[in-house]
Point group: C2
Chain length 629, copies 2
């Protein structure tokens, strides 16, 4: 078998690969993430890479000819899933193809929490064995521990039992004991580590995993890390991954293993930076949507994707770390917060915890926008939730020039009455594509300037070269090709607009049905909390103007950022919050939109911009009527 | 590296081995057990094997020259630990060297037990999920289960959680659920296996492991198997193994693994014969002395061997089978019964259970003779125990021609007044050596015929060619060399007699001190129960006459056989018995002989035959006085 050397730019990473292997696979072995939404079947066209030495790769396939433009082919673009390595070569991965260096949202309006974790460490002095007190080590240990806590419920791990005789003797019968929830002994160590009690909070997102290393003595965050969710190589969206996982038990194990490895990686990184032994991390609190929750625990998530959408387990799960091969203290506990339903996961529970809406008498609406958008309405007395399949448009997917909120993404857009466009990018770099917040701005601004009408159709009568036909499709140019990092224009197509209309209609319809079920209307809302991966920013006015959010005074709309990780951290720090998570899971009512007879009608009415029924949008009703008259 | 082919006879097993490896090691890889008490250092001389093609092995070592007789060397005898393979060869393993085909004691006076095991299987029908009842699988499962049992304490294994979604769907939501102690769910299976509930009882002895496959529905024993304790290759006695285990963590793991493999082997065998899936075995109840208990659980037993002799854990241990890599249902429970003290193990608890002495108002003495002899005295109101280091003489070890109770062992001996000897062997084969019961008979008979005096010394004045000098030592011939299977005479030496005196003195002194502590004397005893590995037989009269057991009417002495496996089986079958085991462990008082000021004096007085104080042996007092006058 012949071997070729492949270097990836701009990473400068070089690997050796078998001749005949596709670039996409080679990149995986190099640890480089390349976008792909079609399992490498040459269909999605997202895995574009650039090669200089063309004859180092196999010939163009029919799929590539269909999916690459002539100018791209001339510039050496190839689809990484189609092009196979023949000789030593250098491959450049353009920014828009890359799955890395995502920005982390570490904002979030976190509630103050009294530090009172489930994990505690106590100092235990055991009487030294003598011929007249020759009790067994474990009974000696429990006897000493019983002077500090009620040991009736205490359960010692088999692993600790193996270590017990040596530990107590090496420490001269003077040990520090870590206990979880007064029930499980997690560690028995030399008595010199009483103040070293660490925990880890993780939010396992579909796209990225964020972790906080937390000092459980004072509640301080010691370090933060994030990593691409490595499952992305098996599909950007959850459904693709679940489908992949269903195919073979091996696949499900692989998806599980990828998450475990990623979590281990950020634990290792943060511990290294904070100079902390991973062995002194005694608990992890993890959250994620139901699919990630299942993948992380190695549970089959396929039935959450099939009607009637049943998850495997709803309640909080607590497992010894070594059962999941997570590299903290092997007897430590991995807690995964409870979920509410198949599409309202532990991350949503964490959202509710972090926003404090469960404790507040104020009537709040919480919208966590994603491929599935979770919606909560209510207050401390009663909370109602639902989930709607809004699609990934607001995460920058299924949009021609869409991208995640990474460096180079356009995040704010302004369109003037002369149709000139102003934009800002993340990191002030040359633009690469559009992230979710830009997509909202663009639809709102195009509607405001009459570039599209209330059905979302382009107005062919306006005079600007930005509105043009390309490959048989009408599109509006946001950035000309000379302005961009890729050398291609960034545009919005009719199909993109339609995609956004479907997304925002699903979300708005979900809100409407919850309001109806609760017998309230938007005027009664004290606030709207918006979470999601649009980017780091959202323009509340535009979100209302396109009919994504109900029409409330703009100062009531608060972008709360990544509340999931905040909620996870709060649960890590406090017994009481942990109990509250269980309560939320049990008490929050879940409404299955699929069974609601009004959903279809509500959804169709909400596909209009802002809505078929303008009375629901009084703040722009007169503008709409004036413009269309 | 050169390879040679080595065949073992009479097994006919052939393995390939590296040139330069000792026969002892090669035999291990062939799965053939060879006796060895010195770690293969060439010191014990027990590992004799025979080779025909002498130049296929390395040259005789100094150790071999010292330990083999000239006639053995001429016959091709070698020590397996010293002789290294040079070429292809055939090795014959003589019967006395072999560690296999031990007889199993399956007798035992077992109490009748009501079948009421901790493991139960219930039929659970789950409501089929619908859009209006889309509960999670686990909550759906618990909901259905709660109609049958109190589920508040129920804990489901992570492994089962992984299987849950598929199992309930493949079974059309109609499953059978196995639960342990109303607490732990062990299996969720298709509802066609409601009557298949099996358990396994094991006694892990220092020399052999005995297992019963038990039907937990009716309590029937379905199959029985026994296997050599494979740890024997690391020493025949416990102390040698503990010392080996202490040397390196790797060694301890190896000793653990050997037990696990052996247990798996007999599980596999019995299941095969009984045509039962090992997956349908849901619990194992194991007993063993404290060292075996520790080795089996992978716990460090070294501190049980060092003053003040503390074990790692006293109470009952329950572990999921897969944590110990035991091949029954992976979520099944391995229960190891509690111990009483460092030298009074779970096997002794099982003895007490099986003999029923804990339930009886009769005053009983239970003596389980072994290298460590456990002694219990008392009744249902109070039980007192101790352990004494009696040495392995009654197991046929540390005796020149001693051997375990296997085929070819002499088990009964009669010496006539003309000094002729009558004997019986196990399996009616030509004699190979002496097992424990023969050793008792021989001392008693020699004493009766005046061959030895009350100090154990040979009487040089008697006229018989059986009393002779050999290699500078006086010995009495039990079987002439032409009578034996080995071609060597079977004799008893002065050293052997001394060894037995020490052993019986330790046991008798232990009994005396327990009597004193309890304020009773032997006349008050209702019975003496004798357990141990003497063989399948013991002559009660002789046991009293040598001063091993207190002088009581012989019909009060009952040989109870292997009560440990019986006790394990009873505990497997009954919740109540299980509780009783815990009670025994907690309530039986343990007396540490090492701390008793009278022990040394009692011990010395008991080294005489039958005892220094003949008033303690009224039944033979007049005979003794008459003979010695």
């Amino acid at each position: 078998m012949d071997i070729a050397t492949v270097s990836f730019e701009p990473d400068g990473r070089t690997v050796r690969a078998l001749v005949g292997i596709a670039i996409l696979e080679v990149a995986k072995t190099a640890g480089i993430g390349i976008r792909s939404e079609c399992f490498g079947k040459g269909l999605c066209g997202k895995c574009k890479v650039i090669v200089k030495n063309r004859n180092a790769l196999s010939e163009l396939t029919q799929n590539e000819i269909e999916r690459l433009s002539m100018s791209e082919i001339r510039s050496g673009y190839r689809l990484a899933c189609q092009a196979k390595v023949l000789k030593d070569t250098v491959i450049t991965i353009p920014a828009e193809t890359r799955l890395s260096s995502r920005k982390i949202e570490i904002s979030g309006s976190e509630k103050l929490v009294k530090v009172d974790p489930l994990v505690t460490k106590v100092h235990v002095t055991l009487p030294v064995p003598t011929l007249s007190d020759a009790r067994a080590d474990y009974e000696r240990f429990l006897g000493a521990l019983s002077k500090l806590i009620d040991v009736n419920e205490v359960e010692v791990d088999h692993l600790l039992l193996k270590q017990l005789p040596d530990v107590i003797r090496h420490s001269n019968f003077d040990v520090s004991v870590t206990i979880w929830g007064n029930q499980k002994v997690i560690s028995i160590e030399l008595a010199d580590s009483l103040n070293e009690i660490f925990g880890f909070a993780i939010d396992i997102g579909t796209s990225k995993i964020v972790g906080y290393l937390v000092d459980l003595v004072n509640g301080n965050i010691l370090d933060i890390a994030s990593i691409e969710n490595p499952q992305i190589i098996y599909g950007e969206d959850i459904m693709t991954r679940i489908t992949f996982g269903m195919a073979k038990p091996k696949n499900l194990k692989m998806l599980h293993k990828l998450l475990v490895n990623a979590v281990n990686k950020i634990i290792y990184e943060t511990c290294l930076r904070a100079n902390i032994k991973p062995n002194r991390i005694y608990e992890i609190v993890a959250v994620g949507n139901t699919a990630m929750h299942h993948f992380f625990l190695g549970l089959q998530p396929m039935y959450t994707a099939l009607s009637p959408y049943t998850p495997v387990i709803k309640r909080q799960v607590n497992i010894r770390a070594r059962e999941l091969n997570i590299n903290i203290n092997p007897s430590g506990i991995i807690t995964v917060l409870p979920i509410i339903a198949g599409f309202v996961g532990a991350d949503a529970v964490a959202d509710v915890l972090a926003t404090g809406m469960y404790d507040s008498t104020e009537l709040s609406l919480l919208v966590d926008v994603g491929t599935n958008t979770e919606i909560f309405v209510g207050n401390s007395r009663d909370l109602l939730s639902c989930s709607c399949a809004s699609g990934p448009a607001f995460e920058g997917m299924h949009i021609k020039c869409g991208m995640k909120a990474v460096t180079g993404a356009i995040e704010k857009v302004n369109i003037h009455s002369d149709f000139t466009v102003e934009y800002e990018t993340i990191g002030d770099e040359k633009p690469v594509g559009l992230c979710g917040s830009a997509v909202i701005d663009i639809i709102a601004e195009m509607f405001k300037q009459g570039i599209i009408d209330y059905t979302g159709k382009f107005n062919r009568n306006i005079k600007t070269s930005r509105l043009r036909r390309s490959n048989g499709e009408t599109e509006f140019v946001i950035a000309w090709k000379h302005e961009t990092a890729t050398g291609n224009a960034i545009t919005v197509t009719q199909k993109d607009i339609h995609e956004v209309q479907l997304a925002k209609a699903a979300i708005y319809a979900g809100c409407s049905i919850l309001f109806k079920k609760k017998g309230i209307n938007e005027k009664q809302l004290d606030k709207i909390l918006v979470a999601g991966s649009f980017g780091n920013y959202i323009n509340p006015e535009n979100a209302v103007n396109i009919g994504l959010l109900p029409d409330v005074p703009k100062d009531k709309i608060i972008f709360v950022g990544n509340t999931a990780i905040m909620g996870a951290k709060m649960a890590l720090l406090s017994k009481e919050i942990r109990k509250k998570a269980d309560e939320i899971s049990r008490k929050v009512r879940y409404l299955e939109l699929a069974t609601d007879p009004n959903f279809k009608e509500e959804f169709l009415a909400a596909t209009f911009i802002p809505h078929e029924d303008l009375n629901r949008f009084p703040s722009i009703k007169s503008f709409c009527i004036r413009r269309d008259s």
